[in-house]
Every structure is written in C-alpha cells, then in structure tokens.
C-alpha cells in the first residue's frame, strides 16, 4: 500500500518534468544573454581591420612594430606576414598576407576557454586574455583555427593580438597600422558608417579567412590570393611537404 502512495501519476510526472525542462531552458537563455561572447552584437563599437594586400610590400614593419610595442618574446608572433610566390618565370607573382588575431565575433578560443580568462569587452568586441585568470592550458591555442595564439613563455599564459588595446582606448591606432609603410592596414569601428574602415569595406570587395567555419572574423582582406589564405592541404595530399 505504501508503494501506491509514493507512486506518481503520468500526468503529474509530465507536469513536473515540463516545469523542470522549462526552468532549465529559461535559465540557459538568461545565461546565454548574459554571456559576453554572445553579447557582442549589443556592443556600441565593433573594432575591426581591413588589410589591402595590393598595398602590402612585405616589409615586415608591422611584425617588428608589434613585437616592440607588446614585448612579444623572441620566436613568437602576434602579427606576421605570410609570403608566397606563384607561377613560373616570366609569369611570376608575389603575394603577401599580413596575419593577426581576427578577434572573431564567434571566437572558438573564447568558447572553449575553461576558466573564462579569454573574454570580450562589451563596449568594442575586442577579444582579450586575462593573465590573472589564465591557467595556461593551451586549449585556446589549439582551438584557434588561424594559429593566432601562443603560450607566452614569460607569463606562461595565452597571448594574442588585441588590436593594441592600450593604444586604441587612448584614441591611437594599433602599432602595426601606424608602422605600415604602404598604408595597407585600415583600422576602426565597423559599426560607425563614417569610419575609414567602414567606408573602405563599402567600396571594396573583401574576403575573410576560413569563412567555412563561420567564426565571423573582424579582419577583412582585399584582393588576397586564394592560395595564400588557408593551409595548403593539396601539397601534403600529394606527398610534398616542401
């Protein structure tokens, strides 16, 4: 008889189950809204960059400026230039692809960081690493599809480009933009239609790296060669690695 008193009717079961599922759904929604990675769309500014590869001369000035501005350890790079030659003499062309963190709108590094040390500033959408929280697990280094992150051997935390946040918050340009000889890098607020970067984007056809991953990078390229933009898997498939 005691068993029958404890038993739960089907209707009651579904009612309780529904309440719990509903509660969990509402909680998940609230957490999602509050989460910085997904609140990026509500930010007032959206810093981004356009790199016109037609203007890049491959001088590596941006790489040097970045290293000196951010004290990047020897052998590591927050910003670098990939260089490729294509064709046979006399039809040869040289291609440059300046690289840096894309500060993606849906950043895999941010989503996979276990401690939340990687975060996005709500007011401008820049992705940062909090060195006081980062445990140095390198999950973000592996997660970044662009190879833009590394474990800083001095701080033992993840490191990456943050558009020289200490400069842009003072109204300056990132160090790489200032150092660019050919004025290939245009930086600014993508949400501001009057900014240089927005106007450049409006007047040029642009590409983004690994668009298939839907990470929505905020670094856009003008006239980049398709072969330099991603990893060259066909070469490895053919068994040639050099």
């Amino acid at each position: 008889m005691e068993k029958s008193r404890k038993s739960v009717s089907r209707r009651e079961f579904f009612r309780k189950f529904g309440k719990q599922v509903g509660g969990a759904g509402v909680s998940a929604f609230l957490v999602q809204v509050a989460h910085p990675s997904l609140a990026a769309s509500s930010s007032t500014k959206k810093y981004g960059m356009v790199i016109d590869t037609n203007r890049c001369i491959g001088c590596h000035g941006c790489t040097i400026a970045c290293i000196s501005e951010n004290n990047v350890p020897d052998g590591y790079y927050r910003s670098w230039v990939k260089i490729m030659e294509k064709g046979s003499y006399p039809d040869v062309s040289t291609h440059f692809l300046p690289r840096l963190c894309n500060n993606c709108e849906d950043a895999p590094c941010l989503n996979l960081c276990p401690t939340g040390a990687t975060y996005r500033t709500k007011q401008d959408g820049v992705v940062h690493v909090d060195r006081q929280i980062c445990v140095g697990c390198r999950i973000c280094v592996v997660a970044c599809p662009y190879g833009s992150r590394f474990l800083n051997p001095i701080t033992h935390t993840a490191d990456k480009c943050d558009f020289c946040y200490h400069r842009i918050t003072l109204g300056l340009q990132p160090a790489c933009v200032d150092a660019c000889t050919g004025k290939a890098r245009i930086f600014g607020d993508l949400n501001d239609p009057a900014s240089d970067v927005s106007r450049y984007l409006e007047n040029h056809s642009t590409q983004r790296l690994r668009a298939d991953l839907d990470t929505r990078p905020k670094v856009h390229y003008v006239n980049a060669d398709e072969y330099i933009m991603g990893p060259d898997y066909s070469r490895l498939l053919a068994g040639r690695s050099s």
Binding site: H35, M84, C144, H156, D232, Y233, L236
Partner: protein, 388 residues
C-alpha cells in the same frame, strides 16, 4: 592547385598539447571503461562470486582518476592555478564541465568502493592483527554487528545507489571526452560526430582488457580460494568475449570515422592520410591495428585461448596498447594537421614531462599492488563467532 607555388615565409605553430594530455584522455577512458564493464557485468551476473571483480573494477579506476589530474596540472602554464578551474567557470567550454564530471566520478567511485569493501573491512576490523587499526579507521570505527552476509544485506540499497551514480558518471566521462575533442571546430580530425563513439569503443576495449589484467594480477598476489578462483576464471573468460566484440566495435567505429572523413573535404582526406601514410602511419598500422586490434582479437577468438591466463593477459596488454596508441594518434595527429601553412606541424620533445608521466604511471601500478596486499578483495564467508 597551381604546381608552381613557393612559400617564402610562414610561421610553423607546432603541436601545442603533447603526450601528457593524450595519456590523460586515455587513462580517463580506461578508468571509465573499466568501471562500466565491471558494473554492467554485475547487473548481468548478480552473484556474490562476482563481487571481487566488481571491487577491482571500481577501486582501481578510482586510483587512476585520483592520480590522473596530475597529468593535466603538470601540463598547465600555471599549475598553481589549477584549483581556480572549479570556480572560474565558462559554461561554453567542455573542459569546464569535465573538471566537475571527472571529480564527481572519482568521488562516486570512492563511495561505491567503500560500500563494496565495507562488509569485509568490518570483519577484519573485528579481528586482532597488525592492520586492525587501519581497518577500523577505514570503516570510521563503526564496527557493526552481524555476519558479513547480514551487513551486505543491510547496506545493499546504498551500495546499489552509488553503483548507479558511478555508472552514470562513467558514461558522462566518456561522453565528455568525445565532446571535448569534437568541439574544436577548426580541427577537422576531431570535429567529428563519431568522436564520442570512438571513446566509447576505447573504453569498452581497454576496460575489459584492464579488468582481465588486474584480476589476474590480484589472483597472483592475493590468496584466492580455489572455488572462487575457478568461478572468477569463468567470468574472466567471458570478459574475453566482451573484449572480442569491443575490438570488432572499435574497428567498425574507425571504419565509419574514416568514411566520414572522406566526405569532409580535402581537410578530411588529409586527416585520414595522417593515419594511413602520414606522420602517424607507423603508430597506426603497427601499434593500433596490428598490435591493438588484430593480435588481441586472434588471441581471444577461441574459448581455450581465452581461458589461458598467459594468453588472455597478452591479449589484454595488446588491446590496451592499441587503445593508447589510438588515443595518441587522434590527439597528436589532429594537431599535426597545419592550420595556416603547408607542412605537418611538429611535436617538440618534452623529456621532463614524459619522465613525470612515466613516474606517475609507475606510481599507479605500485598503489595497485599495495591495495591488493591490504584490502579484502575476496569474499569472506564466515559466520559471527566462528571467524577466528
């Protein structure tokens, strides 16, 4: 692609997460798999004779899970901040869940083991001897009355409850490992729906193999009554059958995985090439397929071979080695695929970390041996008052 392409300047990124984390993943799948096989077998047999094997399949995974976080901690840039992962929590990261799942799994194994050993521990705590104090401490000085059978009956509900909880966390642990790797959407080798099933197959293979190996080790080190020994050999032979079908399942899962990779574009084709002809080819064909799949399958194919102690132990070691290399191949191989350039990424040798990993594994083995000498794995069928 154009044949005449020369890369003048690029950055090589290397393999960021090395062998320690690959071992970490394997040891977790081993512990979870061992407990799942041990406990599901209990649900199948439900006999008192099976209890010693369930003890092995619960307490040894606990030892592994208690020591395995060391692999993760040593690999961190800031090992001293490890504990902050419990409260600096990012809900979109599988690792954040994993820290809790593995911790809770370890706790549930500990409690389940406690209830499994408790009747025999109480019995030993009543008997005078050099370790009486230790056994009394192990049961928190609550030496209940009644014989072992009665104590078992009294605690049966609690014991089965914790068995269920630990089984749930074991499944969650394997699901976590699969989801962890498949959540890296830039890594074509890991970002696969089959990853969870790969870890399930690893768990089933290494779990049944480990259980065979540990029980044989227990029987050689601890005194086992001849009747119980004969009964346990029957169970071990049946674990051999589980191992056989787990190996078939693992081969099937890998076949599906490679078929899916073929339909994942050029990246997927290259990912399968990492195994077939690429940098992990030798480890794949020799250790994972020949040693880890074919050899143990042949060794446990026939009943007479399964019943042979030496043959079953060789099959178990081979199957475990196969899953270890499978785990390492997927984990390291997945990072060898370049993200931005045209060369395989290289893994820098880490001798200090490797030494630490080997020492920790030896430590685990030593702890296993010590527990076999101290803890009462075998059933003690003695009536109150007739024990001494």
């Amino acid at each position: 692609m154009n044949e005449n392409i020369q890369y003048i300047y690029f950055i090589q990124h290397g393999v960021a997460l090395g062998y320690l984390i690959a071992w970490y993943l394997w040891l977790i799948s081993l512990a979870e798999g061992t407990h799942i096989v041990a406990h599901l077998s209990w649900l199948y047999y439900r006999t008192e004779d099976y209890r010693p094997l369930e003890k092995v399949g619960t307490f040894q995974p606990f030892i592994i899970l208690a020591l395995v976080p060391l692999f993760l901690v040593v690999d961190l840039g800031h090992p001293e901040r490890f504990y902050t992962m419990f409260y600096n929590w990012n809900w979109t990261s599988p690792v954040a869940y994993g820290v809790y799942i593995i911790s809770l799994c370890m706790i549930s194994y500990a409690i389940h083991s406690y209830y499994l050993f408790r009747p025999e521990l109480i019995h030993r705590a009543r008997q005078k001897g050099p370790l009486q104090g230790l056994y009394q401490l192990a049961v928190f000085n609550q030496v209940e009355s009644g014989d072992i059978r009665e104590i078992r009956k009294r605690q049966e509900r609690r014991e089965r409850f914790w068995a269920g909880v630990s089984l749930l966390f074991s499944f969650l642990g394997l699901i976590y490992l699969g989801i962890l790797l498949s959540s890296f959407k830039g890594r074509v080798m890991w970002h696969s729906s089959v990853m969870v099933f790969i870890f399930f197959s690893f768990g089933a293979c290494s779990g049944s193999a480990f259980l065979i190996l540990l029980t044989q080790l227990k029987n050689s080190l601890a005194h086992t009554p001849p009747k119980a020994l004969a009964e346990q050999q029957r169970y071990l032979s049946e674990f051999g059958i589980i191992l056989k079908y787990s190996l078939v399942a693992q081969a099937g899962v890998f076949f599906v995985y490679f078929v899916l990779l073929q339909y994942t574009g050029i990246g997927g084709k290259l990912a399968s090439q990492v195994f077939f002809t690429g940098p992990r080819a030798f480890q794949f064909w020799f250790f994972q397929v020949a040693i880890g799949l074919i050899l143990p399958f042949v060794l446990v194919l026939y009943k007479k071979m399964r019943e042979n102690v030496v043959v079953s132990c060789i099959a178990a070691v081979a199957a475990m080695a196969g899953t270890l290399f499978g785990c390492v191949n997927i984990f390291i191989g997945g990072q060898m695929l370049p993200m931005t350039n045209f060369r395989w990424e290289h893994l820098q040798p880490e001798p200090a970390k490797m030494t630490f990993g080997i020492i920790t594994m030896v430590l685990m083995f030593v702890v296993f041996l010590i527990t076999y000498k101290i803890l009462p794995y075998e059933n003690i069928e003695v009536r109150e008052g007739a024990s001494s």
